[in-house]
Structures are given as C-alpha cells and as structure tokens.
C-alpha cells in the first residue's frame, strides 16, 4: 500500500496540481507500539522478559555474588535468609551464588550447542537437499539411524564414549540435535532449489556449490533459526539432565543439574532449598525458550 512520491515525466505535478493525502497514519510512539505488541503476544513477551532476566543474571551476576565454590561447613543447610537468598547447601556454599554462576554456564552451553548443531546440520542439510541423489540417500539413512535414539539417550551414549570434559558434552549434545537441523534445512532446500532464482544463480556463472551455499542456504535457514530457540531450551535441559546423572559435568562445578543432583536427597530431610531453586531455574529457563520458540513457529512458518 505504501509508495514513495516519485516524480515522473508528465505527472500531475507539472500542471501545478498537488495531490492531497488525508489519511496520514498516526505515528504511534515507540512505547505505545511496544505495549500493544506485548498485549497481542503475551506468552512471547513473558518469554522474552524471562530470557532477558536470565541473560542479565548470567552476564552480570557472577561478578556480584560470592564464590560458588567456597565452602563453609559451619553454615551448612541454612535456610533462605537475608544473607543467603537461596540458603546454603551441605557444604555451606551459597546456593544463590551457585545458581547464578550455573546460569552463565548452562545458558552459554545451551547456546553453543544449538549454534553448533545448527551450523553443522544446516550445511549438511542444504548439501543433501540441493544435490539430491546418492549423497541425499546416504545422509537421510544416517539421520534415520540417529533419530531412532531419543536425544537424551544418544547424548548419554556419546558422552560415555568420550572422555569427560565440557567440550565433549557440547559435542555430544550437539550431535544429538544435528539430525534435526539436517532435516529442517533439507526440507526447505528442496523447496528453494526449485525456485527460479536458483536457476538464475546457475546462469550467472555460479558453480553448483556456490549456488548451494551462497543462494540456497541463506534462504533455507528460516525454519532452522526459528527452531534454534527451542533447541537451546532442550539443550539446557539435556545438559542438566546428564549432569544430574553425574555424566558430563561433575560436582563441584556449579551447574543446575549438578545442584539438583546433589540436593535431591535433601528434600526428604527437609532442606528443600538446595534442589528446588536450581530446579526452578531450569524450568523457568526452558519455559522462556519455549514461549519464544513456539510463537515464532506459529507466526512465521
């Protein structure tokens, strides 16, 4: 509906006539636009708010709270108080400090995993989708095999096979999600390669690989990018779950899953704060990613 005022040869402006526009869209202020957006997309807005809080916590928190590893046996199992917002655990460590540091660790690992899985998965997916043929067949059968395992189980197997280290956790969980991204981008690549611009790209001199990566790939990423938020949430959950089982990330590292693992038994004896707070943070974080991701899925796709 919008167009700029173009002056072309012989239009009405030549005769001195000026068109009048009476309907000028009212310029809503930034805040009003933001408020109406939030009202229209409540869950999404909650998700974003939560995520931003977590990011702030993860970035700024660790500098402001105490040492997550500092033990103080004398003060063990003290309930939440003004000094220790989330109380202390069996070693007297400040649960809040640990939870905040865990936020940084979990979120950055989750993000790293999603990014790695997306980059690798998309590249393979586009090649598979664009070139088709035997390459596609092989890739598809391999993803079939990988997808036969539940993601968590697959990650578990891979971490158990590799040495225990943070890097290997990232590799293992990313590997569990790569097939998902392969499928997503391959499906979109199948559509994009039939578009006329893909043919045109060949015609202007691009070799097949260039067509695939420079033209088809950027246009096939939409579903993957949208899913990336959801996958980040799942990745956090998977990492925490593995850590709960003492696989991958081990105590005394401050990580939500580790904390829940350590504090699980404490509930019976009445010390609810050692596992509830970290557990609650996992729930909130994953929920935030879900709210955002679900909304993106519905609107755009």
């Amino acid at each position: 509906m919008n167009n700029e005022e173009t002056h072309t040869a012989g239009t009405s402006s030549d005769s001195g006539f000026v068109v009048e526009r009476v309907y000028v869209p009212e310029e809503k202020s930034r805040t009003r636009k933001a408020l109406s957006f939030m009202r229209a997309n409540p869950l999404f807005s909650v998700g974003v708010a939560l995520l931003l809080s977590f990011v702030a916590l993860a970035v700024l928190g660790p500098a402001l709270v105490g040492d997550p590893l500092r033990t103080n046996p004398a003060n063990m199992y003290s309930p939440p108080s003004a000094d220790h917002w989330f109380g202390t655990d069996v070693y007297g460590r400040d649960v809040f400090a640990r939870a905040v540091n865990a936020a940084r660790l979990d979120l950055s690992i989750g993000l790293a995993i999603a990014l790695v899985a997306m980059v690798i998965g998309s590249a393979i997916g586009v090649v598979s989708g664009y070139f088709g043929g035997r390459v596609d067949e092989i890739v598809m059968r391999m993803t079939d095999v990988l997808l036969a395992f539940p993601g968590f189980v697959l990650a578990l197997i891979i971490v158990a096979a590799l040495a225990e280290s943070l890097l290997n956790v990232v590799i293992a969980v990313a590997a569990a999600y790569v097939p998902y991204f392969i499928r997503l981008t391959r499906a979109q690549a199948l559509v994009e390669r039939e578009q006329e611009y893909a043919d045109a790209a060949r015609l202007v001199g691009n070799k097949p690989f260039r067509v695939a990566f420079r033209h088809v790939l950027p246009n096939s990423l939409r579903p993957a990018l949208v899913s990336a938020t959801l996958v980040t949430g799942w990745a956090v959950l998977t990492v925490a779950g593995l850590a709960f089982l003492s696989v991958g990330i081990q105590p005394p590292t401050a990580e939500w899953g580790v904390m829940v693992g350590e504090g699980a038994g404490d509930i019976i004896t009445g010390e609810w704060w050692t596992s509830l707070f970290p557990g609650g943070m996992i729930v909130l974080a994953v929920m935030a990613f879900h709210f955002i991701g679900d909304d993106l899925m519905e609107e755009r796709l």
Binding site: T6, T11, V19
Partner: protein, 311 residues
C-alpha cells in the same frame, strides 16, 4: 429496479482509515454480462466478495449495500442471507477451488442436495446430468474422479456446474480462465455465455483482460484503486473511452508505451480521486472524491473533467 444493485460499497481493513473499496456502485440486469475490469490491486475481486458477503477476516464493509431483486442480502444482524439459488461464484484456480478429498460428482451432488432438498441418489444423478450439460464427455465416469486427476479445463467446468446447478439469479465469475490455456478459455467463455442465456441469470465477469471483456461482456465497469472509474456498454467504452485511466489502459494495449515512465502503485491515502497522482489532466478539484456521474443514459464516469469539457 435492476436484478442486482450494488451501491456505495465501501470496504476497508478493520481499524484502518484507508478504504480498500470506495463507493463502488454498479448494477446487473437479467441476462446481462457485466465485466469488472482492472489491473491487480484495483479491488475488483474484493467488490465481488463484498457483494457475496464473503469478505475475509479483518476486512469489513463500512458502508453501502448490495440488493438482489430489491432485497438486501444481509440481515439486520449483519448475517449473510443469500443462498446458492440466488447468487453463486466461480474462482480463478479451478483445481484448488474444489475439495481434493471428495469425488467431483459428489461435490456437485452436495450442492444440489442442500439447495434443492433432493435425496442423495437423486442429487447424484442430477449432478451427472449437470456435468454432461457443461460439456464434459463421459460424465458418469468423470464424476467418480478426484479433482487432481482432471485437467484445469475440466475442473473449471465442474465448478461452473456446481455454480449453476441451482439456477442462480446472479453468477459471479472471478478470472475464471486466467489459469487456463487460451483454447480452453474460448470453450469456457462459450459455455458461460450459453448457460447464462439459458438460465437467464446476470453475470458479473471479473477480469484484467480487456480482450475478454470485448468477447464476453455487454457492459463494463473499469476499476482502479478501489474506485469505479467508468461504467458503460462495452462497444462505447472501446470506441470512446472517457476516463483518463480507461484511455491510459487502452493505449497501453494498442500502442507502444514509453518505457521510461516509472511504474507507480496505488496510493490508498489520497483524499480525492484515486487516479489523481498519475493523471495528466488532474487539477485542484480532483482532491475531492469524484462521484459516478451519468454522462448519458447508460454511461457514467467518475471524473470531474467530464463536467467541464465534454469531448
């Protein structure tokens, strides 16, 4: 009183001050074919949908009325009261407009069953007969097919069969042949014309192709930017176009056009005539909305120039 009277139809996005259609008026007599012609964005399809009460979500009719045989087709609560026996419509993409999961005979049969209160078997028989009537060879066999098994031309005939099965008073055809080959188009044109004269219904024929207008229509309403620019019998419009936009359109078909002139889109925010920002003869008065003025008993033009200099 005409068979169908549309008056002052104004349609816009809910909550937006921009009207998509502005005071659209036209009328159709029994047995007459009226063409609504315009380029993309002219609002011709929207006008038909508004007449049918089929406006999409988020778009509302803010003014105006559509009357069939003197009766409004919308009840006081705003609900549409017209039936398939009164007014029906065929669409541009025949294969897509049919239900892909139902056999075509069944689809036509359903329309007959609902509107004529026949039993299922009788309706199906009537449907097969209708398919034969619209020129489908071997109708019993075709009736058992699904839409994707049939060609575009066949599907369009089926859609026509569905539309005329209940002998409506008005048939709206929205670009019925744009997606079809030109030889099939010729067949469909003939079919519509013969059916229309057989049933005695009025036809609103929506198209962007002026050649099709010359073939099919008795009268034509030229639309641009949601405004009816000119309404006239076809022969007179082609011989003596009055509105600057009509002239511009005809010229671009028949003559070489200077390609250096840039393509400008429709500007819905204009206060006055929707062609104002492109019109070579525009002047101060054109900042008011020009009503459709009768310049002769059967011709109207929406342009202030017509009052000043009758050509």
């Amino acid at each position: 009183m005409s068979l169908l009277e549309v008056e002052g139809l104004t349609v816009g996005l809910v909550g937006s001050p921009y009207p998509i259609l502005r005071e659209v008026s036209f009328s159709v007599e029994p047995g007459e074919i009226l063409a609504l012609v315009g380029e993309s964005g002219s609002g011709k399809t929207m006008a038909a949908l508004a007449t049918m009460g089929l406006l999409p979500l988020g778009i509302e009719m803010t003014d105006g009325e559509a009357r069939l045989e003197g009766q409004s087709m919308v009840d006081p609560e705003g609900r549409v009261t017209r039936t398939a026996a009164q007014i029906s419509m065929i669409f541009q993409h025949p294969v897509g407009a049919l239900n892909p999961t139902m056999r075509v005979g069944h689809q036509v049969g359903r329309v007959i069953q609902i509107n004529q209160e026949l039993g299922r078997t009788e309706a199906l028989e009537a449907a097969v007969e209708m398919l034969g009537h619209v020129g489908i060879p071997g109708p019993e066999r075709v009736a058992r097919n699904f839409p994707h098994q049939l060609s575009g031309g066949m599907c369009q005939r089926i859609m026509i069969a569905m539309a005329v099965a209940c002998r409506p008073r008005i048939l709206i055809a929205d670009e019925p042949t744009t997606a079809l080959d030109v030889t099939v188009q010729a067949q469909i044109f003939d079919l519509i014309k013969s059916l229309a004269s057989e049933i005695g219904c009025g036809v609103i024929f929506i198209t962007h192709d002026l050649g099709a207008v010359a073939e099919m229509a008795d009268r034509v309403a030229v639309m641009y930017g949601g405004q009816v620019m000119e309404e006239s019998p076809v022969r007179e419009l082609l011989a003596d176009p009055r509105h600057p936009y009509t002239r511009y359109l005809l010229e671009s078909i028949t003559h070489e056009v200077d390609h250096r002139v840039e393509d400008i889109g429709v500007d819905f925010a204009l206060r006055g005539c929707r062609f104002g920002h492109r019109c070579l003869s525009a002047h101060g008065k054109c900042n008011q909305f020009p009503p459709l003025l009768e310049i002769s008993p059967d011709r109207s033009v929406s342009c202030f120039l017509q009052l000043e200099e009758p050509i």
